[in-house]
């Protein structure tokens, strides 16, 4: 059963790495990808832990959750990409201006 936890840890790692990229990188494309990496990490945790005990069938509920989550993140990514393109067209930049106020 240990390897399951290994996957789960991998998921957590992906989550944290994505978070790091999301904060550090300025380019929107990277930020969007970072969010996707984060979500992949979460999905990995969900699926991995769903089959902790060998033998009996892995719990299908997390799988369903992951499928739902994937569709959600696909939609979000699509919207984000279009926003990025529009922004690029409007400002000519692929970055968010550094927040001046506050």
């Amino acid at each position: 059963m240990s390897y399951v936890y290994l996957y789960a840890l991998l998921g957590v790692g992906l989550f944290v790495l994505g978070l790091n990229a999301l904060i550090v990188h300025a380019h929107l494309m990277r930020k969007i990808l970072a969010v996707n990496v984060m979500s992949t990490g979460v999905f990995l945790v969900l699926v991995a832990l769903s089959s902790r005990n060998e033998g009996i069938l892995p719990d299908p509920v997390p799988h369903a959750m992951v499928i739902t989550g994937i569709v959600v993140s696909v939609s979000a990514t699509a919207l984000a990409l279009i926003l990025m393109l529009k922004l690029n067209r409007a400002t000519g930049k692929n970055e968010l201006p550094d927040r001046s106020r506050d």
Binding site: N20, I67, A76, A78, K86
Partner: protein, 218 residues
């Protein structure tokens, strides 16, 4: 960048904490899976994941079709995108797509059908359809104006619409929202899934197009 100085240790701590938390999660309480097994024959399909997605937790899926639709609405509300790839596709791409699209459609149909009792289902099928659509768009194929209006919109809301209609209908007949009567459960699920597949495929393709057909480069 100076922010890394505080960021990295913070993230490391986060990783360690979360990792520890993950490892500390105990053996699963034998709650839900067992209950699933008991109810599988009522579920209408033998593939547990599909059963959960479409039946036990069908409501989640309903809302999630909503998410997909809303994303497309958002994309369209942002107005026209420039039409990329005006240049006609190369020979290879053209032929490949001609060969591939029918196959994709058939495979999508198969996945949809097999989803009832093996891995597969509406989303995988829809994704394939979407891929087919994207391929066509890449080859410069455009939706004819006559079906870019209401027809397209109907295709797009079909998934959510079917779900809601089924739910409401069942509410009136069966008494509970989305309560499939076991005998016809599988059929209902298949219908809803089929609708969902179509919608997902169309929506993904439309998202790729980036703007409401006919509204582009406005």
């Amino acid at each position: 960048m100076d922010r890394n100085y505080w960021l990295l240790p913070l993230l490391l701590m986060l990783f360690v904490g979360l990792g520890y938390a993950v490892l500390s999660i105990p053996e699963p309480v034998e709650g839900l899976p067992k209950m699933l097994v008991d109810n599988m024959e009522l579920g209408g399909v033998s593939n547990p994941v599909t059963a959960v997605l479409l039946n036990f937790r069908g409501y989640d899926t309903l809302l999630e079709m909503g998410v997909l639709l809303v994303a497309l609405l958002g994309v369209w509300s942002l107005g026209g995108m420039p039409d990329y790839h005006e240049s006609s596709p190369g020979l290879v791409l053209d032929i490949m797509s001609r060969q591939l699209v029918p196959v994709l459609i058939i495979v999508a149909g198969y996945l949809l059908w097999v989803g009832a009792d093996a891995p597969g289902g509406a989303f995988q099928a829809g994704a394939l359809l979407g891929a087919a659509g994207v391929l066509l768009l890449l080859c410069g194929w455009r939706i004819g104006n006559k079906c870019s209006g209401l027809v397209l919109r109907i295709l797009i809301v079909l998934g959510l619409g079917m779900f809601v209609m089924a739910g409401t209908g069942l509410l009136l007949i069966e008494g509970e929202f989305l309560q499939y009567p076991p005998p016809v459960a599988s059929e209902l699920i298949l219908i809803i899934e089929a609708a969902a597949t179509l919608s997902i495929g169309t929506t993904l393709a439309a998202m790729f197009l980036g703007s409401r057909p006919g509204e582009a480069d406005k």
